[in-house]
Subunit: 340 residues, 2 copies
């Protein structure tokens, strides 16, 4: 029931995803009276969908704490419960981000060794794709949080992305050691001196995100959210300027006709729907947050992210990897000298 | 002597600026042995330039505190001193940002009512241009700093930009009142309840910067710096994708030939050199920071920003406006009830 165009957009998204992943089944949580007619009118979807009726839903205006208290029968909460109960491999929601994170934390709990989950997403870069976290779950972060985000990002890039030795960068206002605030400097000092087998690049700046300088960009949720939305806004500005240019004269319109095919490729490559589906990392369960304003195609991509993580059994791997990393770090420590 | 290609780039920049502003004269601070031959070989420039020789200069690696202590005879310091002495209307530097800010604060001091200067710059938007501050001078800001940045941005947009009633937005991760960290919420509360005649829009998000939702975007220097560089990186990514698209096939190349004229307009409109020249607001003197990696055209634009601020007598106006705003606010306060 979440998102600007739910539940129609969600059903249509499942319909698109069904063609890509024919074996996936869907539990749809929400108002049966509204969802059932949509299923009826969508060919082929009924067979792989099951409606779990509830009247309650979390609105975008609800505070996370209020949603947690009063939303025990909400579609969002019941969907998360289904993941916890093992009925669903993951949950995809276009609803209230804060409520989704708060409920998921309470119901699914964090992986051992992780204090706070983080929101991660893919980013297009000059060298391919990178991932960035946190994108808004943790507005204020200390050094330990940032170090944990680095570990989660590293494991994600290695296990799901398939990067052999992913490089990690901490987002800052300059590359020199003394730059930035206390938290970011302390996190860098810890990542530089850690026994964890992590390839820490050092500080990166805003322009390094799209340059693809590192595979994983780590930052606090305040800065990450603003960087993500600034990038989205800039891409939109650029494409509007282009649209205007191609409409500015007859000659330019002719040029557009010739270049249309190539330009459509650029449009697809920078389409925000392509990168829809932010991952909540660090939970005992797969939780994917779709943009609230997305359409069916964007929602289908968010479903794809969940399918990908489930197929790679990401959650087991991240738990094992983090335990392994910590065990390795402990073993690598020199034995303590005994005084006497 | 600052910037990657100084002093040649600086001299060439002055040469371009000379054609735009024929009445401006330049004091060039630095190594005479290197600057004099450049002036000799640049037609027409010698007549409006005067070299102030010094061997010392601040490097990009110098810490601001060290530059302040040991750089009393540096080209940067002597140039700032010339502004303080009234010999120069403003200083333009492509050197070490931190050192420039630290020296300028000590020598020129802040305007009464302003605790800390901020770095501001123009931003292209869908609706024209806006200004954003702080872009990196103050990594950690409290609510009072953010409120002062809002006041400076308001006065700047009104007096130099000519916006009748500029709208002010505080950069945050959402528009609702409870969003963000303590400092940004406290600053919003103060701007909402203030007696200052300021048009406070409320919180804005990263995508609002280029959407042009407000005339002035206010944030701390950490977030602002990262947002600025993320926008620059995204614009570069987009233009690289486009370049690739136009080279991807013969048909696309033909399209480019037709659309070239229109596309060049977009390139000019988004050229970072066009927006070169960040303003240090809140000082008793005009200080403009050019990108270190810019070329002569970019440096000429930074000179243009200084000329513009000097021509509009911005510093007197900001001082008067801030005094006036504070006086107005004091007068607008209801008289205190006398109990008895």
């Amino acid at each position: 029931m979440g998102g600007d165009r739910a539940p129609g957009m969600v059903v249509d998204g499942a319909s698109i995803a069904r063609k890509r992943f024919p074996d996936v089944r869907y539990l749809l949580f929400g108002d049966e009276a509204r969802i059932a007619p949509l299923l009826e009118s969508t060919p082929g979807l009924k067979g792989c969908c099951e409606i779990r009726h509830t009247k309650d839903f979390v609105s975008n205006q609800d505070k996370p704490s209020a949603a947690l208290r009063t939303g025990r029968q909400s579609s969002m909460r019941l969907a998360i419960n289904a993941v916890d109960a093992g009925e669903a491999a993951g949950v995809v929601s276009a609803g209230n981000t804060g409520a989704l994170m708060t409920m998921a934390k309470i119901v699914l709990r964090t992986v051992p060794g992780i204090d706070r989950p983080a929101i991660a997403s893919y980013f297009p870069t000059l060298r391919g794709e990178s991932i960035m976290l946190d994108l808004g779950a943790n507005i204020v972060c200390d050094a330990a949080n940032l170090v944990q985000f680095a570990v989660m990002g590293e494991v994600f890039a290695r296990t799901v992305f398939g990067v052999v030795k992913p490089s990690i960068g901490l987002l800052n206002v300059g590359s020199e050691e003394q730059k930035g605030h206390e938290e970011v400097r302390a996190a860098a000092a810890e990542l530089r001196s850690t026994d964890l087998p992590i390839s820490f690049h050092g500080f990166v700046e805003g322009n390094d995100i799209t340059a693809g300088t590192v595979d994983v960009v780590v930052t606090d949720g305040f800065t990450g959210n603003i960087a993500l939305k600034t990038a989205e806004g800039t891409a939109k500005l650029y494409s509007e300027f282009l649209r205007g240019a191609f409409h500015s004269s007859l000659v330019a319109r002719i040029g557009y006709l010739f270049a249309r095919h190539a330009l459509n490729k650029v449009r697809k490559r920078t389409d925000p729907r392509r990168y829809n589906g932010a991952m909540f990392l660090g939970l005992n369960g797969i939780v994917i947050k779709s943009h609230g304003g997305t359409d069916a195609l964007g929602f289908a991509n968010a479903i794809g992210v969940a399918v990908d993580m489930a197929a790679n059994d990401f959650n087991t791997r991240i738990r094992d990897e983090i335990a392994h990393l910590h065990a390795g770090a402990a073993a690598a420590k020199p034995p303590q000298a005994v005084s006497g």
